[in-house]
Symmetry: C3
Subunit: 410 residues, 3 copies
């Protein structure tokens, strides 16, 4: 009996793992679609390598940093051991209350890990040096992300304080978003983005690919949030999927309404980012919200997207794909929403949420800055002007993503 | 024990929900691939908005219209309440015989709802006004679809009469297909489609995207039909997946053979539509058929596709993506097939099926006509000639889907 | 109780079936991306038809050839009956120890069957005659693949000898790979590939599509290997997913490192093939390996990819997509790895593995040669020079995959 429940729970978690996996394709396509054809291979290369690096660093050190064990409860830092060490009962219902095996636990978390660095990838697109990005990502996904995650999900001090983050509005999305802000600030904008005090639109090269990306991210979020229940409990998992989908839809609606009323615009990429904002927004409290809560959280997230994109432009922070607005602005919003809506709402929870947002933010900003500043002083952050103008594909990869393009340039 | 079965059933239904969700990406890609690059954003915009609108209207009114409760059994119309109202036992095995929770029930049905309007999207592509389409879709998906669905799945009069439609050859696909016919008739053909009495081929801009779309639709159909079992019952679900896949394959084969023999043509888009026709065809009776039945239903559906596409052309009904042939022609065929093949075959069942097809058809044709005629008299159905020639992307969305295109036009 | 376990097991197998299904889209996109735009429809047509043919031949003869029943244990060949014949207990836990129903069994295996022929499709791309390919594939997937599979999975002589192949490094991937080698050798290289003793790169037309393909293949491999456990056993399935993902990541890393160190190249398509090589490599022993084993198997597979691609070029075997390196080279490596790493390692197992590799290789090479040689002598293997230069899409399908292309040519 115990074994059957265990099997079903574990099965659900494995499927959710596969769904989170495919989000990496979603990110990749969203990013290349919203950027120029001449940098396509470069962006895909980064995203594929991050997934590879993310899985491998999480195998060797990340999982042990994030879940160091009961001895480090309430703490700041812990480390279990190098590599994966199957516990005696790791494949039996004795592990994790029969919710999944040790291996499923690892793999689900590993798929999450790579996400944080992937978020950065979009924001720094079209101008960062490949080697610099790979080094930064390896450190960020291998060390920074798991330490931040440990503070809550590994039983660290934020967990003890009462901070709540169901599936990672802060622990995943803001962790990526903070690094994106710092990267963008240190890198500077793409050539031509801000000239003579004016903001110019650098159009992406394929809206269809971006749309596929957004759809795959929503699809993957069934696993991202659904799997964060950490069991197949019918009531909680089904509620989570419903709040997730309603918030996503409301996010799209909010972005549509605000961008239409403000700019008389039927802007598809804004709606897609609105959907993603709705997804990020519900992520911190998907298991706590009712239907109306989810609708409002999403609707506001969609509106935030439109305002955030505009504000970043005015601050001359050039984020080609809107990653900061989606993952940081809506990540903060979603984390706060846990204190405003749903079953945990209240002033004391708002305070807890603010502490969590602040602690994680401080840690991520500081560590990103140190890593990136060091890289700037050593190997440099940015490709040369000529490389940027001609495209990173030709210079970093010696080829082009599409043959038609190479013909035109030939 | 009861709880474990419940958890497993609910898990299956949640996965099927995710699979039906991804069909919306399938429709989007199928449609843009088979149409011209200059209308790509417009089509994607419509499909994304339909999904958003579909989920939200279904949340607020649709689910209550479609499943109004036992009091309305045998009736024409009923309404439970605005929004979602979790029943006392909505998350326990007491709900729906332990097949799923109230939330899973809602979300699975919500993903279905948006499908009907999406079907229309393809048929009216490249010439309908965006605002008109959005208003039509909101009414159609929010009110018409759930009322029609209630007649059978909500326990209405067609259910009482003995009409059978397992997963919606009529209730989903024909409901969309009838609206597509009326829309196309009222809209008229695209400029250049029928000139000097000749039918000209307006080539789609990306066969790869259409192919991805068709594959994703087949993939999603694992959930569309598999989930319509409404439980994870091993015997029925596995039979349904087998009949579904065999009919899909046979549909592709049928379209290939007929189009090759008739036109000496190796036409990929015809085969893809043949596969989709096979899927629509098996949908009404996927749980009733044997292997040979499924093969024949699919094979005939594939042949119907080729003839239907030709017939619509001769009737000067311009359906850019073949949506009417796939969803209406094969939807009717599949519904009739329940009386011809499999375990319910017989003259009295054929009669029942005809009554269902006729009743739903009459309701959908009438309501589509009233809505669209009203819209034509008020805000208009169609974009201007100039907008149509230059492309809806530039005029309705102020941009283009691909940058190469904008360069050419610059 | 027995029924619940049965339902859960069967559910897992059905999901894995859907995942293996989507691999066919993965193969299609990988192949078209790595080849030229003018042959895109042709490649998609082949892949769609193979899936259709694969499912239908497996229904009518393949399944019965591959699993002929206990009477043929230890044998070379057997045949149960035409079509599918539901056993008395085929839908109850009495079938297959309660791991799945007869129908699930069939459909999971049917999705595997089409894979072998699909592998060939990539290697022969851009020059094979469509009719020739369809005839070859029908025979290969309908007769050769199931007979080879019977030798191990159907209880044949290789099973008796102790040959081990968990999910088909040899039985699926090498079976396709051997046919690819023979086809390529008999077909000859594409025009322009080897001129004046030099190897020229014929660039693919869309790296994004190839990347989507590789991601979908990895995604599908969750089902390919995960489903090959043939139950939802939590310990084994979760181990298999972990070894699979670690080997895939290590394969990408291996290809990256070797191609960077050897050529100073950041070659995305090499990394993607490295990932696929890692997946093929782990497939024979995914259930036997530890974490380090999986890492090393993948890392070596990634390195093998780089060397194999170079070696085939030097042997003037023109494989446009690297199918032989991925499926044959890494298929052999993965099969041998069962004797080198993990819980079955040992000299006697290496010998068993070599016998299996040799027996399957001999059978596939011989039968491919006979079929293809006969086709060459009758209808011919290769399109005309003019057709090849102008593109197979125009000549075999009368259209082009992209309208921009047709405009250029108009």
């Amino acid at each position: 009996m115990e074994n059957v429940v265990f099997t079903t729970n574990n099965l659900w978690m494995m499927i959710c793992t596969a769904l989170v996996f495919i989000m990496h394709l979603g990110f990749s396509l969203l990013e290349i679609g919203l950027t120029r054809a001449k940098n396509t291979i470069n962006i895909l290369f980064k995203n594929v390598m991050i997934l590879i690096i993310g899985i491998l660093t999480y195998t060797f050190v990340g999982f042990s940093l994030m879940y160091p064990g009961a001895d480090f409860a309430g703490g700041l830092f812990g480390f279990a051991n190098f590599g994966l060490l199957l516990p005696v009962d790791g494949l039996s219902p004795a592990y994790a209350d029969g919710h999944y095996t040790y291996y499923t636990d690892f793999l689900f978390q590993a798929m999450f890990a790579a996400t944080a660095a992937t978020i950065v990838s979009g924001a720094v697109a079209e101008r960062i040096k490949l080697s610099t990005f790979l080094i930064f990502s390896t450190i960020y996904v291998g060390i920074i992300y798991p330490i931040a995650g440990m503070w809550k999900w590994g039983g660290g001090f934020l967990d003890e304080l009462g901070f709540y983050d169901f599936a990672g509005s802060t622990l995943v999305h803001s962790v990526g978003g903070w690094a994106a802000v710092i990267s963008v600030a240190l890198l500077g904008p793409r050539i031509g983005k801000f000239k003579d005090g004016k903001i110019s639109v650098i159009q992406g090269h394929s809206i269809p690919l971006s749309t596929v990306g957004a759809f795959l991210l929503w699809f993957g979020w069934f696993g991202f949030n659904g799997g964060s229940v950490l069991s197949a409990d019918p009531g909680v998992t089904s509620l989570v999927l419903v709040t997730t989908c309603i918030s996503a839809a409301a996010g799209g609606l909010g972005a549509f309404l605000v961008s239409y009323l403000r700019y008389r615009d039927n802007d598809l990429s804004m709606i897609l980012n609105g959907v993603l904002g709705g997804l990020v927004g519900i992520t911190a409290g998907a298991d706590l919200m009712g239907i109306t809560d989810a609708f409002l959280i999403g609707l506001i997230a969609g509106a935030i997207i439109v305002f955030s994109v505009g504000a970043l432009d005015r601050m001359k922070l050039d984020d080609p794909v809107g990653a900061i607005s989606v993952h940081l602005s809506c990540g903060i919003w979603g984390t706060l929403a846990v204190g405003i809506f749903g079953s945990m709402a209240g002033w004391s929870q708002i305070l807890n949420q603010l502490i969590g947002i602040g602690a994680i933010g401080l840690f991520c900003v500081t560590s990103s800055f140190i890593i990136l500043f060091t890289l700037r002083k050593t190997i440099g952050l940015r490709v040369t002007e000529r490389e940027e103008i001609e495209g990173l594909d030709t210079h970093e990869h010696g080829t082009t993503a599409y043959t038609a393009l190479s013909v035109e340039e030939g």
